[in-house]
């Protein structure tokens, strides 16, 4: 047995304890958050495009709704897969506990799915754009809390000081804007004119910038607010287990796409914009995963 390292400050070492739980919420929850960002983000972007660039967006109603339905179902599927008793999912609706963000989120997501199918009905079967646009507004309004409720859930994990409701809410909205704009750049393709592409590029770039700024603020100032935050952030500093992954995520999701968007604007290049969109989507998963994992490494007892 190797000699114990002893902290200079306390000279205290845990010498006998039971094995503590490993990761409680694994990568399945990362996929959950990532897919939800796309599912609600494209709805936000469709709403924006229909108002700012109606000619570009007029043929995107059904395809966007379909993409939203697919990704919201991925979100729901992975949520279900993460349950240790998935066949009891119905308990959420029959034995609801309203103080839980999980309960409220499940209800809202269910209504959201219903409304998405209604939009699909109007756009694909009825071909009624007026009704679609009329119903899109309440869907967008509902998409806001559907996007944000995971932040409430994370903040209910009171032991995890890193996940504070105000910052996580902003990060969830920014993730939806980033993922939504990136997906629309890829989905819209040539249907989006140059102005619409620029708008999507601006949303992508600005949300990447804001997200990156918030992560850096947490990285630098987080340790000053709580001892637990300081301990958690050590996992992404120095030779911490998630240092490489953290910086990889920041570069792929935010820094490189920001640079590429500037390049795409100066060169009027749709290809570079698409590359930025692909990187942002891939990087977002990495960023979310690191932020989900690191607080779980901290021993609670």
């Amino acid at each position: 047995m190797a000699a114990h390292e002893i902290l200079a400050a306390t000279n205290a070492v845990v010498t006998l304890d039971v094995a503590i739980p490993g990761t409680v919420w694994p990568w399945l929850v990362t996929v959950n958050m990532w897919a939800k960002s796309i599912g609600t983000g494209v709805i936000f972007m469709l709403f924006l495009l229909l108002r700012k660039h109606p000619d570009s967006a007029k043929d995107l109603r059904f395809s966007t709704t379909l993409v939203s339905i697919i990704f919201i179902h991925i979100f729901l599927l992975f949520t279900l897969a993460d349950l240790h008793q998935p066949f009891r999912m119905w308990h959420i609706f029959f034995y609801p506990h309203v103080t839980s963000a999980i309960t409220i989120g499940a209800w809202m997501a269910t209504i959201f799915v219903g409304l998405l199918f209604l939009l699909a009905y109007f756009s694909f079967i009825k071909k009624d754009n007026a009704k679609f646009d009329k119903w899109l507004t309440p869907v967008v309004i509902l998409a806001i809390p559907v996007t944000m409720y995971t932040a409430a859930l994370m903040s209910q994990c009171t032991a995890r000081e890193l996940w504070q409701m105000p910052t996580e809410t902003a990060q969830m909205i920014l993730a939806a804007l980033l993922a939504g704009s990136a997906t629309m750049i890829l989905l819209g393709g040539s249907k989006l004119d140059v102005k619409a592409q620029r708008t999507m590029g601006a949303v992508l770039g600005l949300s990447a910038f804001m997200s990156f700024t918030m992560y850096m603020a947490e990285y630098i100032f987080g340790p000053m607010k709580a001892e637990e935050v300081a301990a958690v952030l050590e996992y992404i500093k120095g030779d911490g287990p998630y240092t490489v992954m953290f910086w990889l995520g920041q570069w792929i999701a935010y820094l490189i796409p920001m640079g590429l968007i500037l390049l795409a604007r100066t060169n009027n290049s749709a290809s570079i914009l698409k590359l930025a969109a692909i990187l942002a989507l891939a990087g977002l998963w990495v960023v979310k995963h690191v932020w989900l994992m690191i607080p779980q490494l901290l021993p609670m007892s």
């Binding site: 114990h4 010498t15 409680v24 008793q85 839980s100 209910q156 637990e228």
Partner: protein, 212 residues
């Protein structure tokens, strides 16, 4: 009636009798624990000391696990015990994430959350929790916090300047107290936890519920 626990760490000698009694009484599966005794060594040889800290659910008055549970599987009993209905639990592990004390686990056999219930089934039959009965030095004191004549109330009153709870800054108002504890005993970040350096094996973490 509000039931509570107090552990006199000055008396605890780390025999783990409570841990074993709990395991047997509640048929707690392998690799999981409702109650455990953590050893922390303090100092540098030859000036060393070993502390023993029994850790269990704190049965908080403002329990984060109860708040986050989407189906009310975790619920309060009238006597203040935070109990769990395993038939209702969906295994979302929200409670495991919410507990600031790491006191909840996913039972690998039932795939539902589980934790110390202060032996609610024994209490309902006017018996003491199994860990209290097993303790050879009466370090575990259990009773009604609302009754000023109960042993626990008297103990708290007598040791007022020396009574602590874990992580009071979380605002959970635990119904579980310690006397003669220090920062090292009660604060997980005050001691170093080195991978592979536990006395009997190198296993320091286990998969939650055994399926991930």
């Amino acid at each position: 009636m509000q039931l509570g626990f107090l552990v006199d760490l000055h008396l605890c000698m780390g025999c783990k009798g409570c841990e074993i009694a709990c395991k047997v009484e509640n048929e707690v599966p392998l690799s999981t624990w409702r109650l455990r005794v953590k050893y922390v060594d303090v100092g540098t040889f030859p000036e060393t000391k070993r502390t023993f800290t029994p850790l269990r659910c704190n049965h908080c008055e403002n329990a984060p696990c109860e708040r986050i549970c989407p189906v009310s599987a975790l619920h309060y009993l009238e006597n203040g015990i935070v109990n769990i209905d395993k038939e209702r639990c969906i295994g979302c592990a929200g409670c495991v994430m919410a507990c600031p004390y790491g006191a909840i686990y996913i039972d690998p056999q039932t795939q539902t959350a589980d934790k110390c219930t202060y032996c609610a089934h024994r209490v309902a039959s006017s018996m003491m929790p199994a860990c209290v009965v097993a303790c050879p030095v009466q370090a575990n004191i259990f009773g009604d916090l609302d009754d000023p004549t109960s042993n626990i109330s008297k103990y708290i009153s007598k040791n007022q300047s020396n009574v602590q709870v874990r992580k009071p800054e979380k605002g959970t108002n635990p119904h579980h107290f310690y006397t003669s504890g220090g920062n090292v005993s009660l604060h997980p970040l005050a001691s170093h936890r080195v991978d592979g350096h536990s006395l009997f094996n190198k296993i320091t973490t286990l998969p939650v519920g055994g399926h991930h």
